[in-house]
Amino acid sequence: MQSFLDSWGISAMVFIPLVGVAIMMLLPEKEEELHKTIALLASVGAGIFGVLLLANFDYDRSGELQFAVDRRWIDVINARYTIGLDGMSLPLVALTLLVVPLVIVYSWNHIPEPGNAKAFLMLTLVLHTGMLGTFVAGDLVLFFVFFEVVLLPMYFMIGVWGGEQRLYAAIKFFLYTLFGSALMLVSFLALYWSTGSATFNIVELAEQVAARDISLRTQVLIFGGMFMGFGIKVPMFPFHTWLPDAHTEAPTQGSVILAAVLLKLGTYGFIRIAIPILPEAAVEWAPYIGLLAVIGIIYGALGCLAQTDMKRLIAFSSVAHMGYVMLGIATLTDFGINAAIFGMVAHGLITGMLFFLAGSVKERYHTLEIRRLGGLLVQAPRMGWILGITTMASLGLPGLAGFWGEFPAILASYDPAPQLNESLFRVYMVIAAIGTVLAAAYLLWLLQRTAFGTPSEEFADDPHIHDTVFTEWVAWVPMLIPIVVLGFVPSLIFDVTNDSASLIGDVVQALGR
């Protein structure tokens, strides 16, 4: 078993969803139930392998890549099939494995207009493979391929199953991301050539860059390309404008996957690729990343306060929350990166949950206009409760998951890596802390307007408005449990990420001033 897991475990986990896609391709479109079952089985199958991997993972060596596989792939460019799992990727893989099956469960009776469960679920499974692959890739070409695999299914999901402005949103999403990807690719190529080492392996590249005398200017430029690629995905201010549109127009499932996992591809890229390979450039970029992060925190929150649409508000809140993650990363310390990974998982669970709720509200009220909503606690008390807990988690209440991404990031920016300007980061810290007030303001305002009060006349006697249904419970409870548990037992993630995060902290530390 162990030897099978060592050589095939990760690959099996990543590609099982594609097996599901292949089977579904052969079946007629009418067999909706069958498609749903296969899709669920495929995602759960990936999950089973994931659980096996998690169970056999050596948590004492979480700083090392485990279950690593390194095989020939594209010889011409020395690209190899290099995959592995370490403390940095493990929480995100786990998050993906949790969210996708739940999305499929939710789809059981929530296939958005214009229907066609087959195509919809196939896209979901392709997304699944793409996301898992991105998190385990150890080779830049492989990473890039998976990174791009994610793009198209999401593009179609928004463009076909989205809301009224879906075309605009889908194209904007695609354009933006592709633009970043192009720059990122250029950076990868530049890295390949400038090291002259004929490898795309992340670890080897890092060693090469450290060993060779590559001018700081070049490093900074290469980092810049990656910054565009990853920063757009995060998204960082001012490259975030695709996000509110994409989120608002995407079907519920798309929004959930987008918020829960896709945005993390960007932040993951920073800590997996950009910073470890180019630590010196990272030091140069960090003040600017930190600046954009705190601007994002305040700006995102102000954007939220101005929204009139529930889904758009939640979308904007991602800009603010990912700002905390990026602030943690910008400190270039073990503390900050630990906080960032925790923040990614927490944001994935919480904002994913919020989008689920928005979807269900939309389904019942046929509108997400905050002004028209109200009294959810009266008409659907359990859903109102869940909304309450989730907003509290989102605003960073201690005892729920959101706090451990937010506060440690603030804490870390008090004491950034020694090369960075301490005073500057302390200013960032204060701004980020002020952001928590605004976060509470827009989230509680949302809660008050939607859940409290009494239903408006328009919906008071609407028979369609009912409380949480079975598939919703099945999809939501597995997200709510970790939100609460991680709030009290943050070590579940910190103990896993700490070694990997410390490695990055050490690399930056070792640069000296």
Partner: protein
């Protein structure tokens, strides 16, 4: 633990004190899941849990007191570090203990690892500017506590936490019992009890916290419970508005809390531990400057949580919640959290604000301002609960002021006594409202109630007299100690010469008596102005009132000055018991005599002066209302009599009615401004400027694509594909459009971007 010689084993309760918050927490979960199916709808679980928690708190209290009495006899033996299993038990030995008397009441810390983070590679003390270039020895010392960053969770038992355990469980238990009658038949009865339990659990968790991080958790949980309970009747918008206001105002202060805790964490060599932070603050290992900044930040948190000016505005609005919740919030949980935190980190504040030998500092000033400003607002309220709310603001100001002038024990003693009489008054107000058809309007719906509800009346009078500081009730003793502690009255000594706080304190003493007299007169005297027939409340309401009134009479005797004890020829051991029990070895011996932490000497003259002011003010107000009443039995309309006659008074009255216009400033100007113009401007910027750039970029790249298309691609692909797709189904059309025009544009864009950057690289190489 295993061997007998392994030093002192802790009493059972010290190691298991975590049960006290765990019980109500478990009760919360049980009520939430099973409450509705039980005969008493969950109330029985809450009361049982609270009874058990109160029992444990009593055990803790008496164990603690016993320890201290024992220690006093054995002249403070040395305690060593005890380790057993995974649990680390640290019994601190106050270093200066031997010099300045026995090391009474060193804190007992019980911790387990919570989570670990970081390796410490980052820890090397690198001053950003290099000014603090440390020499070898000092650098080593600073790096020492950094060996591991395991963040612990645990309990800290000392006089202060034991005192609060007793108060919280006691008041909460009475509030639970009271509530079974008061909120009987409420639309969310079970839910109410569940959150009452969680509220109590959160507060107890905070009280027992051994680290600042843990304190934040408890602190915020208390906040969210208050949010839920204040907004208990959330169907009505004013209630949810009040809940939001409470939460958001507290969040503003929490910014200071987060930053302050962060600063202290790094200043104390990466530690959240209260004990470490306090030790380092006292020993001078943390610079004065750092302590001052941290103290100012934490002060912001105190201002919001403990209702200090100018962040007090949420507190009166919080009256929107059910009355027993108000009693709980104002007496035992929530608002005293800020005061408690000052006590917990007292060395930080003491050193940071240079309390010793000073005559004014930020904390004393804010406390003084609050105590007078809050008291003044109490005069113009019609709502009996709002009078009490502003009175709480005023009394909290007293406590903060006490801590600000260095009167540590006096501040906490006032917290202790205030808890009983304020809970008594709030529950009394609830009882009155119960009788008057749930109205709280003293002028319109009350009056003459003493005849109808004697138990409520007498307990309310006792509570008021205790609040007003009439000897020998509880409030007298604690208030007197604070006034003495300012050190400004001739012959008292003290830690500084805080003249302004003394004056503020005396003014408040007079004001408190005056507005409470007004309240009693309007509520219980004259004629009944409401509807129907008021009646005395049932035993589940009156019994807690009687118990609390009894406490309001007796608890003050716990801290009598020795002069008074001698005068009455009582055993000398009866003097300043509270001080012995609660004042940690930490404060007295850490700060030490050399830093000037002293206890002021009580002054009979000052006590007479303060009492005289209070009684005088009370009598004047009483006479005033009596005269009004003689003129017209329905005196209520004349109550604001002098206001109409004098412009200056009218203007002052208006300022008070408008609550110093602070609400306008916050709600309309700040919140409205951010939510309105500022947020809209940000959104406009987003939609027009940022997206405008994006659209322009897209348009120009499309233009570029067309250009390329025309000259490179023309003839290869014609327009028929585009045209054919138009009539197909929507999704099909979309796909087709993707396949045709646009994808090429994207490809162009990608190509263009890559080309541009490649060019950049070529130049860079």
């Amino acid at each position: 633990m295993f061997a007998a010689e392994e030093a002192v084993a802790n009493p059972w309760i010290y190691d298991n004190v975590w049960l006290i918050p765990a019980l109500p927490a478990a009760s919360f979960v049980l009520i939430l899941f099973f409450g509705k199916r039980l005969p008493y709808k969950g109330a029985e679980i809450g009361i049982t849990a609270l009874l058990a928690a109160f029992g444990l708190a009593l055990i803790a209290t008496f164990t603690w007191i016993g320890d201290i009495q024992g220690l006093e006899e054995s002249e403070g033996e040395e305690h060593a570090l005890v380790t057993d299993g995974g649990t680390q038990t640290v019994v601190l030995t106050a270093e200066a203990g031997e010099e300045h008397g026995p090391a009474r009441g060193a804190p007992v810390v019980n911790e387990v690892e919570w989570f670990g983070i970081g390796t410490g590679a980052n820890q090397v003390t690198l001053g950003s500017d290099g000014v603090e270039a440390v020499d070898g020895a000092e650098g080593e010392e600073a790096a020492e506590p950094s060996s591991g960053f395991n963040i612990s969770i645990g309990t800290l038992v000392d006089g202060q936490s034991v005192m609060l355990l007793f108060v919280v469980t006691f008041i909460s238990l009475l509030v639970h019992v009271y509530s079974t009658d008061y909120v009987n038949g409420d639309r969310r009865y079970t839910h109410y009890f569940a959150f009452l339990s969680l509220f109590t659990a959160s507060m107890l968790f905070m009280v027992l916290a051994s680290s600042t991080l843990q304190m934040i958790v408890g602190w915020e949980l208390v906040g969210v419970c208050s949010f839920v309970l204040i907004g208990h009747w959330w169907e009505e918008k004013p209630n949810s508005d009040a809940a939001l206001k409470a939460f958001l105002t507290n969040r503003v202060g929490d910014v200071g809390l987060l930053i302050g805790v962060t600063i202290l964490y790094f200043a104390a060599g990466r530690s959240f531990s209260f004990v470490t932070i306090n030790e380092m603050a006292v020993s001078g290992e943390i610079s004065q400057n750092t302590l001052t900044i941290a103290a100012v930040c934490l002060m912001a948190a105190v201002m919001s949580k403990s209702g200090q000016f100018i962040l007090h505005t949420w507190l009166p609005d919080a009256m929107a919640g059910p009355t027993p919740v108000s009693a709980l919030i104002h007496a035992a949980t929530m608002v005293v959290a800020g005061v408690y935190m000052i006590g917990r980190l007292y060395p930080v504040f003491y050193e940071g604000f240079s309390i010793a030998g000073s005559s004014i500092n930020l904390m004393a000033f804010i406390g003084g301002l609050t105590t007078v400003g809050g008291g003044a607002l109490a005069f113009v309220q019609r709502d009996i609960k709002k009078v009490l709310a502003y009175s709480t603001v005023s009394q909290l100001g007293y406590m903060v002021m006490a801590l600000g002038v260095g009167a540590y024990t006096a501040g906490l003693f006032h917290l202790f006594t205030h808890a009983f009489f304020k809970a008594c008054l709030f529950l009394g107000a609830g009882s009155v409202s119960h009788a008057c058809h749930h109205s709280f309007d003293m002028k319109a719906d009350m009056g003459g109630l003493r005849k109808y509800m004697p138990k409520t009346f007498w307990t309310f009078v006792i509570g008021s007299a205790a609040l007003a500081g009439i000897p020998p009730l509880a409030g007298f003793w604690s208030k007197d100690e604070i006034l003495v502690g300012t050190g400004a009255f001739p012959g008292t000594g003290g830690n500084g010469t805080y003249t302004i706080p003394l004056i503020f304190g005396l003014i408040t003493a007079a004001m408190t008596a005056a507005y409470m007299t007004r309240t009693i007169y309007l509520t219980f005297f004259g004629e009944y102005r409401g509807h129907g027939h008021p009646h005395e409340s049932g035993p589940r309401i009156t019994t807690p009132l009687i118990i609390l009134a009894f406490m309001a009479v007796v608890v003050g005797f716990l801290n009598m000055p020795s002069g008074f004890v001698d005068f009455l020829r009582l055993p000398s051991g009866w003097a300043h018991l509270f001080e012995d029990w609660v004042e940690p070895a930490g404060i007295a011996s850490f700060v030490g005599v050399e830093n000037g932490f002293t206890h002021a000497k009580p002054s009979l003259l000052l006590a007479i002066l303060a009492t005289g002011l209070a009684v005088g003010a009370g009598v004047v107000v009483w006479r005033y209302y009596e005269r009004l009443y003689a003129k017209d039995p329905k005196a209520t309309d004349y109550v604001d009599g002098p206001v109409a006659n004098n412009e200056l008074v009218a203007a002052g009255h208006r300022v008070l009615v408008e609550k110093y216009y602070l609400d306008h400033l916050y709600t309309d100007v700040i919140a409205g401004g951010i939510k309105g113009p500022v947020a809209r401007a940000a959104n406009w910027f987003n939609q027009n400027v940022l997206d405008g750039v994006v659209h322009a970029a897209a348009r120009s790249s499309v233009g570029l694509g067309r250009f390329v298309y025309r000259f490179v691609d023309q003839g290869l692909v014609d327009g028929t594909v585009n045209a054919s797709g138009r009539t197909a189904s929507e999704s099909g059309q979309f796909l087709r459009r993707v396949q045709t025009g646009q994808v090429r544009e994207y490809a162009t864009l990608m190509f263009g971007a890559a080309a541009v950057l490649a060019a950049v690289f070529i130049f860079a190489f």
